[in-house]
Symmetry: C2
Subunit: 393 residues, 2 copies
């Protein structure tokens, strides 16, 4: 089953341990594209990783698409906030990949939210039609907060999710039969004490598993869940909620998992430290999905025979042959004895992640791009920006 993990999407704020919570900028956006590119555990560059609030609303899509093209060599999501911004995203792909290639291949996707309950508004449906007409991919996502825009019983949330996503998928086939469409699910719960949305809780985890079954029944690819949390810090709550949500996403058989890295604060903030911790979870899940082989070598009876009962296996041929590949190795987790950990400063996971994202950005190198292509992209952006005054709504 092909699967693809991408950074979180759509937060107006960013956070790090040094500067706390603040509005995202294009520099933050570029940093996250670079951090994603550095992670071997993600497959996809994502879309609006954070809102670059220092760029005009009607122009920021140009800088975001360019950043994905220039600072990553992975696939990415284009703009969906207006049909003409969707057109710009696809036009830039034609410059990067060539118009003929784009006509024949899906090179970009747009992620479209329904206007739940039971509505798909004009901006959304026109955006969907723009991508579909160009033969490009679309994700059809009901963002269902149970009790707010969907029944709060899981069966009802799922039925509504399925209906809305199927109708939205169907629009693409009216425009261009065969245009790629992805069924999607984003179901959250709410706190009974405050009425606030909650993420990383057990009911939506069950919902993800059921959604996987529904998608397989329809033979449609599925976008589902992610490393969700309502925590305001990259702490124990954040990682416990994320792991429950993310394991269910993986176990549902989801093919595309947006929000795989950085999600905090109920999706209002992208966290630099959580991004690092989440990509590490993604690495663990790669190992988890590999399963394990059962054969004469992996059964390792020779290893037990070599030393015999009561003897340790550190130096057996079997151990020496397998020790470098037997177990996944985390980039941030601490496994040292307590004394060693204490002598080295007694750091928590968030503090180690803080050091790691800085080291990753310092070590980042941009992938190569054809200079003529790069110039053509920049010219397109300049022309598009000059053609209209800045708009901030």
């Amino acid at each position: 089953m092909p699967w693809s993990l991408a950074p979180s999407y759509g937060s107006p704020f960013v956070m790090d341990l040094d500067h706390g919570r603040r509005y995202g900028t294009i520099e933050d956006f570029e940093n996250f594209v670079k951090l994603a590119q550095m992670s071997p555990n993600l497959h996809h560059s994502g879309g609006t990783i954070c809102e670059p609030t220092d760029v005009a609303v009607n122009k920021r899509h140009l800088d975001m698409v360019y950043a994905h093209m220039r600072y990553s060599d992975r696939a990415f999501l284009g703009s969906i906030t207006a049909p003409e911004r969707a057109e710009d995203s696809i036009a830039m792909c034609r410059i990067l990949f060539g118009a003929d290639f784009v006509e024949q291949n899906c090179v970009i996707m747009g992620n479209f939210n329904t206007t739940s309950p039971l509505v798909i508004d004009g901006v959304t449906s026109r955006g969907i039609r723009t991508y579909a007409a160009a033969g490009q991919g679309t994700i059809h996502l009901p963002f269902l907060l149970g009790g707010a825009v969907a029944p709060l019983t899981m069966a009802g949330s799922l039925a509504q999710c399925l209906a809305e996503s199927m109708v939205s998928c169907a629009i693409t086939q009216l425009v261009r039969p065969g245009a790629p469409a992805v069924l999607a699910s984003f179901i959250s719960s709410m706190s009974l004490r405050s009425g606030s949305p909650t993420f990383g809780t057990p009911e939506p985890a069950l919902g993800s598993l059921a959604m996987g079954q529904l998608a397989r029944r329809l033979k449609l690819p599925l976008r589902c869940a992610g490393n969700f949390s309502t925590s305001k810090l990259p702490d124990g709550q954040a990682m416990q909620q994320s792991m429950m949500s993310m394991m269910s996403a993986v176990q549902s058989g989801a093919n595309y998992i947006l929000h795989s890295a950085g999600f905090l604060d109920g999706l209002l903030s992208m966290s630099y430290e959580k991004f690092i911790l989440d990509t590490d979870i993604c690495g663990a899940l790669h190992a988890y999905l590999k399963g394990f082989e059962v054969n004469e070598d992996t059964l390792g009876f020779e290893a037990l025979a070599e030393g015999g009962p009561g003897q340790h296996l550190f130096a057996t041929q079997h151990t020496l042959r397998h020790y470098q590949t037997a177990y996944w190795d985390s980039a941030v987790d601490d496994h040292q004895p307590w004394e060693t950990w204490d002598e080295k400063g007694g750091l928590d996971a968030a503090t180690r992640a803080n050091a790691r994202w800085k080291a990753q950005l310092a070590a980042y190198e941009a992938p190569a791009i054809d200079p003529g292509t790069d110039e053509a992209l920049r010219e397109f952006i300049t022309k598009a920006k000059d053609a209209a005054p800045d708009a901030w709504y």
Copy 2:
């Protein structure tokens, strides 16, 4: 499938945010029995929740068994460190429950580790025989650190685990056919960089799933995994590793999950704060295992019809009928808006858990016990303690 969650077991150290890491005492032990009793999410009082290192090695089992009997009304594990201590544990059960009742019913279990690889030593096998002869339960656990005392490939670890646990189970049937025996698995991985044991990693999570299948094939109950972590703090690493391990335990269909609360530092430390965070995970897993119902009421079409397309569902009859039961509610997670959270001090999950275990201990009330029984238990303990000098090894 019956399942039972119990606190972690066997740590020499305890930790809390106020006083850091230190050797456990009988006061710590009693505190953890009380905290477990206060949690609606645990089923079982556990055994050696932490080592009460201020009590002589040859006498501490008496105080531990008494604490489980006096401060909890749940089932618990008896001593296994010497056959006579196993006898004492069962003798105290005869005082509490009556000798006839104990002869006819399993009221206590002992948790026995094999001496891997491929050895069951004399102390262990004599202990197993003591419990089995009394018709009491035994858990048969290979503690397999891959590469150290088992092949580090998962198939080999599992084959050895199955063989050792089955042989250990079989001992009970030679002593008393029908004596209750529990198949068990505790498989860890190791860090390739340091050679240290690791916990909460993906390979042992897969191993748990396979072990569940093997146990069902044998029609034996299974003890498996727990809230494992190598972290030294109740931080993001701790809760991410715990959730991966614990979800696999639950998904394996394990019937008894020791180490469900408090496990840190690769099992060397019991943490007060992690205990609270883990019991909260246990609560989430209760909700997860409940699944969800699909019927006319839970499909909630009436809720969507009531408002119609585009209208929120906050005040529908369906929402009002279900909002108190639709979603599991965490006792420690924060779901408030960022501003509210920040105004209230911007606390992380560990700090909230610190306040909660103190409040729980302050609110604790001991369950009732018959005064005559209590006196008989105390007399038994005094007599046993007076019969031998303190031993500290």
